[in-house]
């Protein structure tokens, strides 16, 4: 399927916004109708292109949030960046029924394949949850038995994407664990003060290196570097650690 997803000429196609919902005060999920979508693997992304009336174009890469199960729409979750010319349009202006140009799916490296038997550690910083959520959803869709652990770092409880769905999946998807790290403000009854990801967090809530887990780390550059360094220091094989970094605000 990976080959099918990337073979052939990669061309721009027109998607239509079927519905939208806010995940947080600044992150909006776009549910896009895409006729003839070839399907995608969890972790892949798309390029979105906007064209102004004067012909000026801007293009950005967004991770796909949804899993593909042979049909249906494709979901992206877009974080509004204060100076983002594309993201502010997609979060604040782009209306249901309107078209947008999109190409994909692309990217064959930061990808989880349901046939991989290894346990999986997902580490997300902020909006880095998006491609990892696609992996959790894909595992849920095929009732995968690979043990999955997600460590999800957010500033405050209000900044967590998909909180309701993750709580439901922890209950209903056997073998999925989720641990939150709050860096600025915790929920009221939280047992520890705000903190950043550390060796202790990854050691406690990740997998031991000898389980040979596949590790996927996605988030702001500094977060990804720190987490990858911790994983290597704990003895994880660097070849089993896949990373995706983005800029903008952490």
């Amino acid at each position: 399927m990976a080959r099918a997803a990337v073979s052939g000429r990669l061309t721009w196609r027109v998607a239509t916004l079927a519905e939208a919902r806010w995940e947080t005060a600044t992150a909006r999920t776009l549910v896009l109708d895409l006729p003839d979508w070839p399907g995608h693997l969890p972790g892949q992304h798309v390029d979105v292109r906007l064209t102004a009336p004067d012909g000026y174009r801007a293009q950005r890469s967004y991770s796909i949030a949804s899993a593909w199960s042979g049909g249906g729409p494709v979901e992206l979750t877009v974080q509004r960046l204060e100076d983002g010319e594309v993201s502010t349009y997609l979060t604040d202006v782009y209306a249901v029924g309107a078209p947008v140009e999109l190409r994909g799916p692309v990217g064959g490296w930061f990808v989880w394949r349901a046939a991989q038997p290894a346990p999986v550690l997902l580490v997300a910083g902020g909006s880095g949850i998006v491609p990892l959520m696609a992996m959790i959803r894909a595992r849920g869709a095929v009732r995968g038995r690979q043990p999955f652990r997600l460590v999800y770092s957010v500033r405050t409880p209000d900044d967590a994407y998909y909180a309701g769905e993750l709580a439901r999946r922890v209950r209903d998807d056997p073998g999925l664990d989720v641990h939150y790290i709050y860096t600025r403000r915790t929920p009221e009854d939280w047992p520890e003060p705000p903190k950043r990801i550390s060796v202790a967090t990854v050691n406690t809530h990740g997998w031991p290196p000898d389980f040979g887990p596949a590790c996927f780390v996605c988030g702001p550059t500094g977060f990804v570097e720190t987490t990858a360094d911790i994983l290597v220091a704990l003895g994880h094989d660097p070849r089993r650690i896949r990373t995706e970094r983005f800029g903008g605000t952490s």
Binding site: D47, S61, V106, G107, G108, E244, R245
Partner: protein
């Protein structure tokens, strides 16, 4: 405004437009320091007139991609080798 640095994963679309295989999963050997690593891990500067991808180890430019309306310019002089996985026959 500071540049938005991302990594080679974000080049998949622009490379996918011109190559039949996914180049972000290819292993590139840096001409500067000899580090071999996947293209997805290169550090990206996307606010330049094109895309500039640098080695995460030494910072040298490994790959440059500039898009004009009717053509693409790809400068790979910073990579001594590109190792691509292809399906076995």
């Amino acid at each position: 405004m500071s540049e938005v640095a991302v990594d080679g994963n974000a080049m998949a679309g622009d490379l996918g437009e011109i190559f039949a295989v996914d180049v972000t999963a290819a292993v590139a050997t840096c001409a500067g320091c000899g580090r071999a690593g996947v293209v997805a891990e290169l550090r990206l500067w996307v606010r330049a007139p094109g895309i500039v991808a640098r080695c995460p180890s030494c910072g040298d430019v490994v790959l440059r991609l500039v898009r004009a309306p009717d053509r693409v310019f790809l400068d790979l002089r910073g990579a001594t080798r590109l190792e691509l996985r292809v399906p076995s026959p």
